[in-house]
């Protein structure tokens, strides 16, 4: 596998907002900034994990990457090419390389189509990819590749379990021979034992096909397992990003620290980590994000400056963090690891 020094995917200052309309004329009454100035990049063959709670903008970011949302501004570059500036025809060509795996294996498969039809759907849009005469064989190959029996290709989605359906979704994504997979909570609807099988499958595919992943999840242990780099999002912004090792060992943003300390782990007695921080209050409405640092309303370290001045992402201890007092957080946080 050749590895280009350039990132496969790079996002620059992405902004996506939604209009809130109401009243007789459906006038725009307000604007929610779902994603508000997000930048990151992913190298070929690597995995970027995106974590954050509901409403943080992680799924909107994913949808913008695959073209399901139109950004208000910002650049999305795939293999050096600006996707959002491309002509519709070129966009379609590029779209083949970027496929998505969805959270809900029940809602994301058409119940009226057989597995064979579902997997082959993309070839209707990109007919040159696999000649018609070879599609049956290719479908069988894909099914075997994701651990499904090709003899079941004429069955319908409801005849499969959740884990098998997720495999069908993965086979459908692979059918277009993509280079980038955007996985939006791909295992959170699955049982523990099936979750491990699916994570292993994704890891094997990445290794064999040199795939690049953007992996969105709320489970910090899962993200740690699959990712090389991570971006922690809060209210539409990235608050901390960088290589997985330093961030998990010693978070530099209070929000990351709170997430790490509260994440349920199977054997809490076997891991040393900062004592649990239970955040006060709830996520503020994205309609009216707090001034200054967006996290200050829930932050136990917040000081006067945090209410006025919004912290910028800056280099701290081997990662980028948007906190005025990141040095203090790193210094104080007990490292996470085996005691």
């Amino acid at each position: 596998m050749t590895r280009s020094p350039e990132p496969l995917l790079s996002i620059e200052d992405l902004r996506v907002s939604f209009a809130i309309r109401s009243g007789f004329l459906r006038r725009t009454k307000a604007e929610v900034r779902g994603v508000d100035g997000v930048s990151f990049s992913v190298m070929q063959g690597k995995t970027l994990g995106i974590v954050g709670e509901s409403g943080c903008g992680k799924s909107t970011t994913a949808r913008a990457i695959i073209g399901l949302e139109t950004p208000n501004s910002g650049a999305i570059s795939f293999a050096g090419e600006r996707i959002e500036l491309a002509t519709p025809k070129r966009r379609r060509q590029l779209a083949r390389h970027i496929q998505m795996i969805y959270q809900d294996p029940f809602a994301s498969l058409n119940p009226r189509k057989t597995v064979e039809q579902i997997i082959g759907e993309g070839w209707l849009v990109h007919p040159d990819l696999v000649p018609e005469s070879e599609r049956k064989a290719e479908t069988a190959l894909l099914m075997r590749r994701v651990g499904l029996d090709p003899a079941l290709s004429n069955r319908f989605p409801h005849q499969f379990s959740g884990g098998q359906r997720q495999r069908i979704g993965i086979a459908r994504a692979l059918a277009l021979r993509p280079r980038l997979l955007v996985c939006d909570e791909p295992v959170s609807a699955l049982d523990v034992s099936v979750q491990a099988q699916t994570l292993n499958l994704l890891a094997e595919l990445q290794h064999e096909l040199g795939l690049t992943y953007v992996f969105i999840a709320h489970d910090l242990s899962v993200v740690r397992h699959v990712s090389d780099t991570i971006a922690v999002m809060y209210l539409g912004r990235i608050v901390e990003t960088g290589p997985i090792g330093p961030i998990y060992a010693r978070p530099a943003h209070p929000y990351t620290l709170a997430l790490m300390s509260a994440a349920p782990v199977s054997r809490p007695w076997a891991v040393s980590r900062p004592s649990r921080i239970v955040l006060k209050g709830e996520l503020p409405s994205p309609l009216a994000p707090p001034p200054g640092c967006r996290f200050h309303t829930r932050c136990w370290m917040a000081r006067a400056r945090c209410r006025i001045e919004e912290p910028k992402l800056r280099e701290v201890a081997g990662r980028k963090t948007a906190c005025h007092f990141a040095e203090e957080v790193v210094a104080e946080a007990a490292p996470i690891g085996t005691p």
Binding site: L259, M260, V278
Partner: protein, 334 residues
């Protein structure tokens, strides 16, 4: 007959629950037995289809219409719930047992204010007048950590966030000071930081009121966080039970061991996960012998023939595996 400690609050004995009619009937729960003492916490841990929620529904007399208890006893505070008339069970469920469900939105009535719904409990169950019931509602809403409780009583469920709604459901469950709280996946629908708040609330309430807690969950981490004991369920049966820490560190059943090693940790864990192969069996076609044997790395010929009984392993542990002594002696899960 086994003698039980005097402070046993809930005792489930050889419970079996059947679903469906004659032709396609199957047992969702088989031979499930456990005890819960006053003030104690127990988790029923299992994947979908393991029978954990059906067990909880059987205790609360909330089984769906096509399900029935076919054998066993459920003794709560000295009364056998299975033989009681349904009206009496419902009575007990409202007052002495509280239940928290996974989805707080479906557990609340969207067309009544929160205050109406909670005050109704006090009026119907305790005969309080409107004013007193409203004050009692404000008190319990305050106790579950909803700020500005008195004013918030006039709001409707949709005006609360997911975490606040779950607090309201908890408020309703504990309003009449039950002796047992059954929580079925109480935090599954919530974000991590809110999850931590809700678990802390449940723990605090339990400490303050001394009620017992039966937690139904698929999340190994939540179990370790909240409860003293765990009962691991697979294919409708309890396959292992004991103190959480003993069970997690040195599982005696290969299924428990498989679960423990298949989840990634917060630390670096290179390579593939040690996943359990295959899928949980369809309840209508459970394998012969030990139901776990087709997926089990330790299975031997006897396992496909003879079903292992849940048997004692030392003082406080039980496991249903022919080779439990071998499994428990394996290197600890890391």
């Amino acid at each position: 007959m086994i003698t039980r400690p005097a402070d046993t609050l809930l005792s489930v004995d050889s419970l079996a629950v059947r679903f469906g009619g004659n032709e396609d009937a199957f047992l969702a729960v088989e031979d499930v037995s456990f005890d819960l003492r006053a003030g104690e916490t127990l988790s029923l841990l299992g994947e979908s289809g393991s029978g954990k929620s059906v067990t909880a529904q059987a205790i609360m007399a909330l089984l769906p219409r096509n399900a029935a208890i076919t054998s066993g006893r459920i003794v709560f505070a000295g009364e056998d719930l299975v033989s009681l008339p349904r009206s009496r069970t419902r009575d007990l469920c409202g007052t002495r047992m509280g239940m928290v469900f996974q989805d707080p939105l479906t557990a609340l009535n969207p067309v009544f204010t929160v205050g109406d719904q909670i005050a109704e409990l006090f009026r119907v169950r305790q005969g309080l007048d409107r004013r007193a019931a409203w004050l009692a509602a404000a008190e319990v809403v305050d106790a579950v950590g909803i700020p500005d409780a008195r004013r918030r009583l006039d709001a409707y469920p949709h005006q609360f966030s997911g975490g606040m709604r779950q607090r309201l459901v908890i408020a309703m469950a504990i309003a009449l000071k039950p002796r047992l709280l059954i929580a079925d996946e109480p935090t599954t629908a919530l974000d991590v930081t809110v999850q931590a708040q809700i678990m802390e609330l449940i723990r605090d309430l339990q400490r303050e009121t001394g009620m017992s807690l039966l937690l139904i969950t698929h999340d190994l981490g939540v179990v370790a966080d909240v409860t003293d004991r765990v009962a691991v369920m697979y294919a409708g049966r309890i396959v292992e039970t004991g103190p959480v820490r003993d069970v997690y560190d040195n599982p005696a059943h290969p299924y428990t061991r498989g679960l423990m090693s298949s989840i990634p940790s917060l630390e670096e864990s290179p390579g593939l996960l040690a996943a359990i192969p295959g899928m949980p069996p369809n309840p209508k076609e459970r394998p012969s012998g030990c139901p776990f044997h087709p997926r089990c790395a330790f299975a031997r010929p006897v396992c496909s023939v003879e079903r292992p009984a849940l048997r004692a392993m030392g003082d406080r542990r039980k496991a249903a595996c022919h080779f439990a002594e071998e499994v428990v002696r394996l290197d600890p899960v890391s």
